[in-house]
């Protein structure tokens, strides 16, 4: 057992590519937690997808032992937080589990919007923050400019920032010393009833569900009967351990300590991040504040390209959901796409990660329908209904009004591109809330409807700013607006998978863009095909795809029969990538591409 005064708990806040994982690796090496020869680059980002995208999705932690220059031994617990806005709640819980943060900023770049969100989370959690400037060995490094930038943008004193190069291993000792000297020790009462926060949980193929906790008060030991206060479930602890970063069994965890346990929990779904864990027999008086159940904000349909893969998709989704409590799903059937699932996600990145995993790890080709947000329909009778899928929109005569989710978007962009960014936000029905400048960069806050952001806002932002903008958002609430359901009719038949909710004032524009795009995406047929956008019975945009005019093999004799037949078979196989609507075949990519706005 380590005395509270010799424990330091911290997280690392950094923008993608600013060197969070590399620094974590160096801290593990410098403290001798893992022998150099066992060190795998960037230990903490285990999953392929995380590594590819340069982001950390599942929080991990590592317990380090460090003998400081004052000759005393300290336990340093690093919690590796998810770095993306979609996981803001998880981040907030991780932040509550530690007392301080290292703010790692690339000395050649400066602070980015996504960093800001996590810094604010850290400040909210009352953290002491130690700025760390990384990559100081790069020729482009400008430590003084970046220090000023940190002070301007965050308002954090950066004059004694630690200068390091995680890659080159420079300044790592200084970081460890700063952790010991500048971060506060945790507080807690060893003799109080057990009160621990559930920080994270994941599924391990050998151990089952592993739960990560931070003990606030009391002591937990192997064999203890514990209760999860939010779910009410009671378990016996089978195994108690710390992560170094491999699991190492540990006799007990006291106040300020971070570790993991297993308790024959069947599914990750049975655990809730932010839940309070206490002893069954001698519980604490009240749970920790701030618990929120996971709330999906973006929904889309996932359908197998090959209808025969439906069962495989269901199994894959069920498996994935076991390990991801924030992902929801229900069966959906579409006239166009057959059987699939309507899935809910914490945000767009979460959506992409889940879709990638389904396609990659489970080898299922998917059609993803346009992402939609959750609308609140207030019915004439006063009842409120959630609308997850525009195809389910009830008859308007029964609806009193519709509310949509709004976000507060924070965008950081070099001055040169500010005009384009403001125009983009304005076009997406944004309301400017704040605009400040700091060192050649603008920081702009917009109030935006989530449905305008959910599809291709980020892509557009990247393209108008040549990748120089960084973006973050937070959901702020619901607001009424003039929203309508726009249907798309192809050859006079409505295509449910293409229907969408739009603002009435934007409907013509979007409708025209959609039908023009579809006209390009749908191959010509033997007959002409009207493509229309409509609100209720009223057509607001129309294009006609003309009929094919000539498609005939000039020469076909005896020797060509086999070749021609095989060619025909090949063409028919190509048709499998199409979806049949009445007599019209729509290529799969049309379901997503048609919704991309070129603004």
């Amino acid at each position: 057992m380590t005395d509270l005064s010799h424990i330091r708990n911290f997280s690392i806040v950094a923008h993608i590519d600013h060197g969070k994982s590399t620094l974590a690796d160096r801290l593990i090496q410098a403290t001798g937690t893992v022998a150099d020869r066992d060190m795998k680059e960037q230990l903490l980002d285990a999953m392929d997808i995380e590594r590819e995208r340069g982001i950390t999705i599942k929080a991990n932690t590592v317990r380090l032992n460090y003998r400081a220059k004052n000759g005393e031994d300290y336990v340093l617990n690093l919690i590796d937080t998810p770095g993306h806005v979609d996981f803001a709640y998880e981040v907030s819980r991780s932040m509550r589990a530690v007392e301080g943060s290292l703010l790692v900023v690339d000395a050649s770049q400066g602070v980015e919007a996504q960093t800001l969100a996590n810094v604010y989370q850290a400040l909210d959690a009352g953290h002491e923050i130690v700025p760390v400037l990384n990559k100081i060995d790069l020729p482009a490094a400008e430590p003084d400019r970046v220090k000023a930038n940190i002070e301007d943008v965050i308002g954090l004193d950066a004059h004694d920032a630690v200068l390091i190069s995680a890659k080159a291993g420079l300044g790592i000792e200084d970081v460890l010393e700063a952790i010991v000297a500048r971060l506060p020790a945790p507080r807690g009462d060893r003799n109080a009833p057990l009160k621990a926060m559930l920080v994270d949980s994941w599924y391990d193929a050998y151990l089952g569900v592993v739960v990560m906790i931070r003990v606030m008060d009391g002591v937990v030991r192997k064999g203890d009967r514990i209760r999860m206060m939010q779910t009410g479930a009671v378990y016996g602890i089978d195994r108690l351990a710390v992560l170094r970063p491999k699991m190492q069994e540990w006799p007990e965890l006291g106040p300020g300590e971070i570790g993991v346990f297993t308790a024959s929990i069947k599914q990750v779904r049975d655990t809730r991040v932010g839940d309070t864990i206490t002893h069954e027999k001698k519980p604490c008086a009240e749970p920790l504040p701030g618990f929120k159940p996971a709330q999906p904000v973006v929904f889309c349909g996932l359908f197998p390209v090959d209808a025969g893969d439906f069962v495989a998709l269901r199994e894959a989704i069920e498996k994935l959901a076991l390990n991801d409590a924030s992902f929801t799903y229900e069966m959906e059937s579409s006239a166009a796409l057959g059987f699939g699932f309507r899935c809910g996600f914490l945000g767009l990145l979460h959506l992409e990660v889940v879709r990638d995993r389904l396609e990659r790890e489970y080898d299922i080709d998917l059609i993803t329908t346009a992402p939609s947000v959750v609308y609140h329909l207030y019915m004439k009778g006063g009842e409120m209904r959630e609308l997850h899928n525009p195809a389910d929109m009830p008859d308007l005569t029964h609806v009193d009004h519709i509310e949509e989710p709004r976000i507060r978007a924070t965008i950081m962009v070099p001055d040169d591109y500010l005009g384009d960014v403001l125009k983009l936000c304005q076009d997406r029905r944004g309301i400017q809330m704040n605009l400040t400048y700091a060192g050649g960069r603008a920081l702009v806050d917009y109030d935006l409807p989530l449905n305008e952001v959910v599809f291709d806002f980020y892509d557009r932002l990247k393209s108008v700013t040549k990748g120089y903008a960084s973006f973050d958002y937070q959901i702020t609430g619901y607001r009424e607006d003039n929203l309508v359901k726009m249907s798309i009719l192809v050859n006079d038949e409505p295509v449910d998978a293409l229907s969408m909710m739009v603002h009435r004032d934007r409907a013509e524009l979007r409708g025209r863009a959609m039908v023009e795009k579809l006209k390009e995406l749908i191959p010509r047929h033997l007959f002409k095909i009207p493509i229309q956008a409509a609100i209720g019975g009223k057509v607001i945009a129309r294009e006609t795809l003309s009929a094919m005019r000539k498609d005939v093999t000039a020469k076909c004799y005896g020797g060509d029969a086999t070749r021609k037949r095989k060619l025909l078979d090949k063409q028919k196989a190509g048709k499998k990538k199409m979806r049949q609507f009445g007599r019209v075949e729509i290529p799969q990519e049309a379901f997503i591409s048609a919704l991309k706005m070129d603004d």
């Binding site: 005019r549 005939v552 020797g559 063409q571």
Partner: protein
């Protein structure tokens, strides 16, 4: 359509038996003619295709199995053709042959003696109809024209001339070795030598305007051929044109609108001249239709002999696809080893139907088929296409309309949409 029905009636006569020449010393079981459904004249009879794989040079648009060789031993080739004819006759000798077709390559590079020897062997191998059609493809150069008499003497009665264009610059662009003047002279000689003459033109060429095509086709129609094959230039992968096209170095090809305009001019002018299209690209005065190709298009049986030649043979109710090794030396070697043929493929019912429609719908007369012979889904889609004005249907027969014909490939994809692809090849 009525025309073709008439031809087959006339050719078939009221009793096929009257129309048969018995090869000497081979009595043959005549009663089998009626037993074998493929032998019926509705299907165009039974044909023999002979492939001569050599050309003096390779044309940049051609993807046929043709080769340029420094030296050709015509004796060696004669032995091989005769051996294959004997082998094929051993298997199908009881059938009645309606047509022989020398295709290539450039068959007009064959010695007339070689052609004569082959035709002698054919007559010895099968009973043939009285008016056996014997076609030979020829290039209209002066050298080859010198062999026309010899071919006629050997028994060739129909010449198919690869004129391709009546414009010297375009002929050069198409890689042809003759001039328009030579082509006209060769045509006149052919006309005087053979009872039936056809020639080919390639249109929708680089930079070809509708006016230019009108003028050229007008001239072609005055040349008094009884049969014209008018092909829109097709860029095939693996050809010189294909490579150039892929590299963006084949400018001036017609866009779809231009191609349609050229197509329409072709239909209009040939129709006015009494040479209506009886097939997608083939036009004839009444009664002069190429009977050999009708065998293919009507779904009849035909033998394919020579490098890369394909055949269709119905044996014991199973339709077999036959194919010979493509490379000339490989074929010769296979023949020396006793069989100039690759393993045969038994066609699944779906493949037979696909081929029947693919080939048969090329004809203006359409496909004759009992209503019950079509899968219901296929019949339903045909009805749909009838309502689109792309097909027509009457009792026991259906086809594509004039508009449908220039969309035939798309029409076929639609008709056969849910018909399974080929079954795994089963070798016999």
């Amino acid at each position: 359509m009525a025309t073709l029905g008439d031809i087959s009636q006339r050719d078939g006569a009221s009793d096929a038996r009257d129309n048969v020449t018995k090869p000497e010393g081979r009595p043959g079981p005549l009663n089998q003619i009626n037993r074998d459904p493929v032998e019926n004249w509705q299907r165009g009879g039974f044909g023999l295709y002979l492939h001569w794989p050599f050309c003096l040079s390779k044309c940049p648009y051609c993807d046929f199995n043709s080769h340029v060789a420094a030296r050709i031993d015509q004796r060696e080739w004669q032995d091989a053709y005769l051996a294959e004819i004997a082998r094929a006759a051993g298997e199908t000798g009881e059938r009645v042959l309606a047509s022989v077709y020398f295709g290539g390559g450039t068959p007009s590079l064959m010695d007339p003696e070689l052609v004569a020897a082959i035709l002698d062997a054919v007559r010895a191998g099968w009973r043939v109809v009285n008016d056996l059609e014997v076609t030979l493809e020829a290039n209209p150069t002066s050298v080859e024209a010198g062999r026309f008499r010899g071919y006629a003497a050997a028994g060739v009665n129909r010449l198919s001339l690869g004129v391709q264009a009546l414009d010297d610059r375009d002929l050069a662009a198409l890689g042809r070795l003759h001039t328009a003047g030579e082509a006209r002279a060769a045509f006149d000689l052919a006309r005087a030598t053979f009872s039936r003459v056809s020639f080919d033109l390639i249109y929708a060429r680089q930079g070809q305007t509708p006016e230019a095509w009108r003028a050229e086709l007008g001239e072609a129609l005055t040349m008094a051929a009884d049969h014209l094959s008018l092909y829109q230039l097709t860029i095939e992968p693996g050809t010189a044109f294909g490579t150039r096209h892929a590299a963006g170095r084949l400018p001036g090809l017609p866009d779809e609108d231009r191609a349609v305009a050229l197509w329409d001019i072709t239909q209009e002018m040939t129709g006015a001249a009494g040479m209506v299209a009886y097939e997608v690209s083939n036009h004839a005065v009444e009664g002069a239709e190429g009977r050999h190709n009708l065998v293919y298009w009507r779904g009849g049986d035909y033998l394919g002999i020579g490098p890369g030649a394909h055949g269709r043979l119905t044996l014991d109710g199973i339709r077999l696809a036959t194919e010979a090794p493509r490379a000339p030396t490989a074929w010769l070697q296979a023949v020396r080893q006793g069989r100039g043929e690759l393993p045969r493929e038994a066609l699944a019912a779906g493949d037979v139907l696909a081929e029947r429609l693919m080939m048969g719908l090329r004809l203006a007369e359409g496909v004759t088929m009992a209503p019950g012979d079509l899968p219901p889904a296929v019949a339903a889609r045909i009805d749909m296409l009838v309502s689109d004005g792309l097909m027509w249907r009457e009792t026991g027969r259906f086809g594509v309309t004039a508009t449908g014909r220039r969309l035939l490939d798309a029409v076929l994809r639609e008709i056969l949409a849910d018909q399974g692809g080929s079954q795994p090849d089963s070798d016999i």
